[in-house]
């Protein structure tokens, strides 16, 4: 199976990060802080939000959005900054390519590792949501693969775009994309807040699709629509995967 050898590289990362697991794990705290602040503090100022024809408490509304953000953040950090460091400074892939692994294995395993890291952030978040009683339906079990899908689309796009980066300064553009995605993709408020045109643009962002999938599952109103939205994320991920493999091969002159 193509990319299966990449498991070796994932194993390498797991061994490497074992020494600094605390740094990695502490990244899970940020979305929880947001949940406490926005969900509970600002939630008390907002009360309820109209969703799917009825009113839900704001903290229940915002929690699945922040779950999607935790999946996005976990995957994004690893697939951009760390991949760039390994590519340009550690020369990790140069040595990897001297083994039976190929450029496509590298792309697949980097994306796989970033998805694992996304899960490392979204699983504790989901557990805390359950503990706080913010989960309304057993469909929420499917939120875990949903979060993994958000991580996959993010990571694949992240690795693909990172191969085009020329210097650390270019990473300001990562912030330029990820901060507005985080703030404006329907995470904190329904699309009805926006003028119609902006709403249509926001609907095309991958994070918005992820937020809708997770919100519908957690609040217990899944529909067949979700399959289309999931398919969109899969396509984004597969395109990223293909581009990343080709670009890494080109950069490393395979």
């Amino acid at each position: 199976m193509p990319g299966a050898r990449g498991l070796r590289l994932i194993e390498r990362h797991a061994r490497f990060y074992r020494r600094m697991w605390l740094v990695v794990a502490s990244g899970a705290a940020e979305p929880l802080f947001y949940l406490a602040s926005v969900g509970i503090g600002i939630g008390a100022l907002i009360g309820t939000v109209a969703w799917d024809g009825h009113q839900v408490p704001y903290r229940e509304f915002v929690a699945p959005g922040l779950l999607a953000v935790s999946a996005l953040n976990g995957a994004l950090n690893d697939s951009t900054f760390n991949v760039y460091g390994r590519l340009k400074f550690e020369k990790l892939y140069d040595s990897v390519l001297a083994t039976p692994l190929g450029a496509r294995d590298v792309a697949a395993s980097e994306i796989g590792w970033a998805v694992l890291r996304g899960l490392l952030y979204s699983v504790p978040f989901l557990v805390v949501m359950a503990a706080l009683g913010l989960i309304a339906s057993p469909w929420a079990l499917l939120a875990l693969p949903g979060a993994a899908l958000v991580s996959f689309a993010t990571a694949a796009a992240g690795v693909a775009l990172t191969t085009y980066m020329k210097s650390w300064q270019d990473f300001e553009y990562v912030m330029l994309v990820s901060v507005p995605l985080f703030l404006f993709s329907g995470t904190f408020y329904p699309l009805s807040v926006y003028p119609h045109v902006i709403g249509v643009i926001v609907e095309w962002t991958p994070l918005y699709q992820g937020v809708v999938i997770l919100r519908d599952l957690v609040l217990g109103a899944p529909s067949w629509d979700l399959l289309w939205r999931a398919a969109y994320l899969v396509v984004v991920g597969l395109i990223g995967l293909g581009v990343a493999g080709r670009r890494i091969a080109k950069l490393l002159l395979v």
Partner: protein, 281 residues
């Protein structure tokens, strides 16, 4: 040489008048500052996104997006002002804190471990305190620039309610320096970079979220309120908000300013010591 030339009358000691005097301490600090300025002139474009657009995104999403939901529910807990007016001065305070922290942590650490600009400066006549003050001058300039941009945007969107707001700029710069001075003092002593990530994750993010910025401290559970009132960001945000809304009183302003000025002064004292220990040759 005749003994008469020597003012102390010591025959064996040569006169020192031949040496040019050392430049004054501010001269040397300004030299260190100008080095940062030269670098900034080459790289300012990439920093504009995080420093100018970042706070604007937060103002748009929190102030207007979330604010439309808050205002629908009633603004009594906010003191009766619309949510964007309530949150804008706090976003100003948060970005001043973040400008101070982010300019005083990784660049300071990098000055010793990455681009080694401090090591290079140490080889010149600059003393550790000059390196520290010069860098702080540059950080102060960056905080001032970012805050000024944001205050102009606040005014343009009609989020300012009082003429006291002309003092928003010095207030937010004081807040930023109060964070920057001790942070640089600490960052220069580090051997590895990970503790700085912890400061952002467990320091600045919770401060930003719970210090009466996006919602009044009265919404917090009772046992958390004294902690929130003790944080420097709460003092900075409360000061900025009182200036922007025109609710400022002499007593509260004196407490806020005193707190932040004391923090900056302690930071400066610590910085002089820690830079000396790390960089004195």
């Amino acid at each position: 040489m005749t003994p008469a030339q020597n003012p102390r009358g010591d025959r064996n000691r040569p006169a020192r008048t031949a040496l040019a005097p050392l430049p004054g301490r501010w001269d040397l600090s300004v030299r260190a500052f100008r080095c940062w300025l030269v670098m900034y002139r080459r790289t300012w474009r990439s920093s504009i996104w995080s420093s100018v657009f970042g706070p604007l995104f937060y103002l748009g999403a929190m102030g207007y997006g979330l604010g439309s939901l808050v205002d629908r529910h009633g603004t009594a807990p906010l003191g009766g002002v619309p949510y964007p007016v309530f949150v804008a001065p706090a976003v100003l305070a948060v970005q001043a804190m973040n400008s101070g922290l982010s300019n005083a942590m990784f660049p300071v650490f990098g000055g010793i471990h990455w681009n080694k600009i401090y090591i290079a400066a140490r080889a010149t006549m600059l003393r550790p305190a000059d390196i520290y003050r010069g860098h702080l001058l540059f950080i102060t300039m960056r905080i001032t620039m970012n805050s000024a941009c944001f205050v102009v945007v606040m005014a343009a969107f009609g989020l300012i309610r009082s003429w006291w707001a002309v003092l928003l700029l010095p207030a937010s710069v004081l807040l930023g320096v109060a964070f920057a001075a001790p942070s640089a003092a600490w960052a220069v002593t580090l051997r590895v970079q990970t503790p700085m990530s912890y400061v952002f994750r467990f320091g600045s993010v919770p401060l930003m979220l719970f210090s009466g910025t996006f919602f009044p401290v009265s919404q917090l559970p009772g046992w958390l309120r004294p902690i929130a009132y003790a944080t420097p960001l709460w003092h900075g945000a409360a000061l900025c908000r009182s200036l922007s809304l025109g609710t400022v009183t002499a007593g509260s302003a004196a407490i806020h300013i005193g707190y932040l000025a004391a923090m900056a002064a302690v930071g400066l004292w610590l910085g002089n010591r820690s830079y000396y220990r790390k960089l004195y040759v």
